[in-house]
Amino acid sequence: MPFETKKTTLIAAALLTVEDAELLLEWLLKHPRGRLDLAACTHLHAANLQVLMAAQPQIAAWPRDATLAAWLQTALT
């Protein structure tokens, strides 16, 4: 399971694969005000990136991986 949820926060695993994009999208649809904890994430497939860009969810925690964090910050802010 790539995600873990705590109330309205989705906690992402280290790697989000192409298939996970669908799950991510579903969750975001169900939780329009859900928050994302990406701290553990080291890479996410471009399909996930698209979902995040389209949804612009609140980010509870940016990835600890500096490169990924920098990319996501340019994409989501």
Binding site: L25, H43, L44, A47
Partner: protein
């Protein structure tokens, strides 16, 4: 399918045909330079066309082919058979791609990416030919001319600096741009990289984000979407719409290598320091700026950079940091510090600052930062145009058409002025033009340009507008253009002046940057239709109309039905007279019938004319086929084709295609000998294959003859016996000609060994049947050692068939008239039984008889008439006469023959069915199959 794609496919096929022909011509005469030029142009134009669509595989191969042809044309590479082979293979590949594209439904082009590997392979093979030649003649060649395959991959997507427009960097913050500037000044190599993954890339297992994130030394990055994201509920997560833009500290070659699997999805532009120079910020008129500029310009002219720096710092301290002026000053300081030698750049920044402080009214400072945000396309276009005019006016030649050139340049400048709202400059421009023309020198115009406030970029204009256009933008937009309301919204309808000022259209601030399909401007007026198009503006009206086959077929079917429907009138006339007893009406109906009949016949004739196709439609494949086969078999063959303008109905021509190819293959495979064998036989080593077409009355006759070894009746007899096709008795009786005809017997194949050419289990019997299906006949003559001749005779058209109606066992049948030799009455006593077969003697000839009822397995004896005579239909099949006993022969009638459908389709012995005038269905017999 959108008209542009349709046009491309049609024209593409024509070009491929032309390319094939030219190549074969060149093989015969490699010195034909006109032919070489034609060939080059065809390849070149086709490549250009392919660029309008997103078919990178096709463009890649054609590009390589074009380069190779260019080298060949220039004599750097010698024309050879190997080269022709390679080019032909490449063109076959292009044909496959065209076929793929023609399967397109709707607006979406089918992906051709599964051909990518093949495209790369062919491209490399073509370039390999150049590289080989390059080694041989390398001394005469400059380095670039014989580019081997490796660097081209880089060259394909590395564009030079030209394409960077002021708005390219609009999203790069000043600090980062300045950082890049410093690095570049220090000698670093930086590239601007745009990566737009294919929409379906996720399905190919690609992760573009991973590709990008792996890049080392990213100085700036941005990721956007190519179009507005759909609402989340409708979002397709797997349709990739991402667009990555980066500034990377890496060489173009290294980047090309990193993205080597997606070369057509990226764009790499090496950066220059000057391109990054772009002050930005809040604009506020600053009176001090004018004074500063004057001082600074003087200091710059004096080369006193220290004092200049001091002055700039002072003004910078006085300015709020978010002001445009502050930004410009920071740039000035940066430029002075890091590139003190770039006087031009320093002047440029100063000039912009000066304009800011200029008094009422301020001249529009066409700073890079200024207009980029508003309408990048227009500003970019204006700058391109101005730079080009500067180049043109800087030309020093004295061409006889100099005056025209000056006028055209002035016209271009005037247009640009108007576009930029600098109409005030026009008077001066006109004066400059007059002066230039009378002095026969561009100098006055050049001076005007230098002194004008127009945003002319100096020093960046000499390289061509090298635009690898945005990926995917072309097709989608072009497709939309032609099939839907146009996507393009010109900021203003291009009417002549007068309408110009009446329209106000504020530029939209929310203009989506970087969107490929972004309209030129969001400003309104897009609803203005392109009306008032005048007839005389469309001069090139095609003389030939290309019509969809389906429409012609429909027309023909309708005419066919008309022909049949008119047959009802004689019935009607008959009923009027016999049933209702009105002879007068009957006569009138008959006279109307003759009018309608005549028109119907003319309609038939007309539609036949439309459907006529020249045999060249099939013949055109033969040069290539013969060439390739001959090469494979190690034979030398000269192909002679005559009468290829002979026409016949499309269906006939199409039905001829496969049999003819088979015959030609046979001839090359079995008929024509190898050069050694031919020489030993005292024949020229080059064999000769002649294909002739001509019209003979209402038939088209095609003869295929070769001067090969011929068919030996002794061998045929032997084989036929071996295969059990004939028994010993027949073997004795057969004439040589009859023996030769045995090659048409089912199961007979003359091939000694099965080759990969004609020995694919298809014998001449299949050829004969295919020809017979369209009511054609085939005759074979052969002389041992001299050669073989096949003569095909086919009807010109097959739409309307004239059949004789017969009756048997109370049913009506039709028999095609072209099979009927005559109808006779044979008294029962004249029918003999010889060897258990019914026969009779007709005009001293023994004719075998068969009863139709027996053939149709109807257990009813044939009826005779009152004089005890049988009605006999004499048919001719392959030169033999045969009498078919029927109950009664009736009139002949024109029918439209339709093949039997459904379960009837498998019935042998029927040619098809037809609807009669009274609405009943007539089954038409096929005598050949009956027997």
């Amino acid at each position: 399918m959108n008209p542009l794609l349709l046009q491309f496919l049609t024209e593409g096929r024509e070009f491929l045909q032309g390319i094939g022909e030219k190549l074969l011509q060149l093989e015969d005469n490699p010195a034909d330079s006109a032919c070489m030029d034609d060939l080059f142009r065809l390849v070149h134009t086709l490549k250009g066309n392919s660029g309008l669509f997103e078919v990178p595989e096709m463009t890649r191969v054609l590009h390589a082919a074009e380069d190779l042809m260019d080298a060949t044309r220039a004599g750097r590479v010698a024309f050879s058979r190997a080269l022709a082979d390679q080019l032909l293979e490449a063109m076959d590949f292009v044909a496959v791609l065209l076929d793929d594209l023609s399967a397109a439904t709707g607006e979406q082009l089918p992906s051709t990416s599964h051909h990518a590997a093949e495209a790369v392979r062919l491209g490399e093979l073509l370039r390999g030919l150049m590289a080989q030649a390059g080694e041989v003649v390398s001394e005469q060649l400059p380095v670039a001319s014989a580019a081997p395959s490796a660097p081209t991959a880089v060259a394909d997507n590395v564009t030079d600096n030209w394409q960077l427009t002021p708005d390219t960097f609009i999203h790069v913050p000043e600090a980062q741009r300045m950082d890049c500037y410093r690095r570049l000044s220090a000698g670093a190599t930086l590239c601007w990289l745009v990566y737009q993954p294919d929409e379906d890339c996720f399905f190919k297992g690609e992760d573009p984000f991973f590709q990008v994130i792996q890049l080392p030394d990213i100085l700036w990055q941005r990721v956007t979407s190519r179009e507005q994201w759909a609402a989340l509920a409708e979002l397709d997560a797997y349709r990739c719409l991402l667009r990555f833009e980066l500034i990377v500290s890496a060489s173009p070659a290294a980047l090309a290598e990193h993205f080597r699997y997606v070369p057509d999805q990226i764009e790499i532009v090496p950066l220059t320091a000057a391109a990054l120079l772009m002050p930005s910020g809040r604009v506020h008129t600053e009176p001090l700026a004018a004074e500063f500029t004057r001082t600074a310009q003087a200091l710059l002219a004096a080369g006193n950079l220290t004092a200049l720096t001091q002055a700039a710092r002072t003004l910078l301290e006085l300015s709020a940091p978010d002001l445009w002026l502050a930004s410009a000053l920071r740039w000035l300081l940066l430029v002075v510090e890091h590139t003190p030698q770039e006087i031009d750049l320093q002047r440029q920044v100063l000039a912009q600052i000066g304009e800011l402080g200029a008094q009422n009214p301020p001249k529009p400072p066409f700073s890079k930062g200024g207009f980029a945000a508003v309408n990048a396309e227009v500003l970019e276009a204006a700058q391109t145009v101005l730079a080009a005019q500067r180049d043109i006016l800087s030309l020093t030649d004295s061409a006889p058409w100099l005056t025209g050139r000056l006028q055209a340049a002035a016209a271009s400048l005037a247009g640009t002025c108007a576009s930029l709202g600098c109409d005030a400059e026009l008077t001066a421009l006109n004066h400059a033009l007059t002066a230039a023309i009378s002095a026969k020198t561009p100098a006055p115009l050049l001076a005007w340009l230098d002194n004008s406030p127009l945003p002319v970029e100096k020093g960046t204009s000499s390289s061509p507008s090298f635009g690898k256009e945005g990926q995917g933008g072309i097709l989608s937009t072009a497709g939309g253009l032609l099939s839907q309301p146009p996507d393009l919204k010109s900021p203003q309808p291009p009417f002549s002046k007068g309408g110009l000022d009446a329209v106000s259209n504020p530029p939209s601030p929310s203009f989506p940057k970087g969107g490929l399909d972004a309209p030129l401007s969001k400003a309104g007026l897009s609803e203005e239709p392109a009306f008032n198009r005048r007839a005389e503006d469309h001069q090139v009206s095609p003389r030939t109309l290309k019509v969809d086959q389906v429409k012609i077929d429909r027309l023909m079917n309708l005419i066919g039905e008309m022909v049949v429907a008119k047959n009802a009138l004689p019935y009607l006339a008959g009923r009027a007279e016999e049933v209702f007893g009105v002879r007068e009406l009957s006569r009138e109906i008959k006279s109307q019938y003759s009018v309608i009949n005549r028109i119907a016949e003319e309609m038939q004739d007309a539609i036949m004319q439309v459907r006529l196709l020249p045999v060249s439609f099939i013949f055109q494949r033969f040069p290539r086929l013969v060439r390739d086969l001959a090469h494979k078999l190690g034979k030398e063959v000269r192909l002679v084709m005559e009468g290829d303008t002979t026409e016949a109905d499309k269906n006939i021509i199409e039905a001829l295609s496969d049999p003819l190819i088979h015959i030609v293959r046979n001839s090359l495979d079995h008929g024509l000998e190898t050069p050694a064998v031919r020489q030993a036989a005292g024949k020229p080593s080059e064999g000769r294959l002649t294909i002739q077409a001509r019209q003979e009355s209402d038939r088209v006759v095609i003869t295929i003859s070769d001067d090969g070894r011929g068919i030996d009746p002794v061998v045929i007899r032997h084989k036929a016996y071996e295969k059990g096709i004939v028994d010993e008795v027949e073997l004795e009786r057969l004439t040589d000609q009859e023996a030769i005809n045995l090659v048409f017997a089912a199961g007979f194949s003359t091939a000694e060994t099965i080759t990969d050419l004609s020995g694919r289990g298809v014998g001449m019997d299949v050829v004969r049947d295919a020809i017979a299906k369209v009511n054609g006949t085939i005759e074979l003559r052969s002389t041992v050692g001299k050669g073989t001749q096949l003569r095909l005779s086919l009807p010109l058209s097959m739409a309307v068939t004239n059949v004789m109606m017969i009756e048997s066992a109370g049913q009506r049948f039709g028999v095609p008239m072209d099979a009927v030799a005559e109808t006779v009455r044979v008294p029962r006593r004249a029918v003999r039984t010889i060897k258990r077969r019914l026969t009779t003697v007709l005009r001293d000839r023994l004719v075998p008889l068969v009863a139709l009822n027996e053939l149709l397995a109807l257990e009813v004896p044939q009826r005779t008439n009152g004089d005890d005579e049988f009605a006999v239909l004499v048919v001719r099949i392959d030169g033999d006469y045969l009498g078919i006993i029927v109950d009664e022969c009736r009139e002949t009638v024109d029918i439209i023959l339709k093949p039997l459908a459904g379960f009837l389709g498998s019935l042998n012995g029927y040619a098809g069915s037809a609807l009669l005038g009274d609405g009943s269905v007539l089954l038409v017999l096929n005598p050949r199959e009956l027997l």
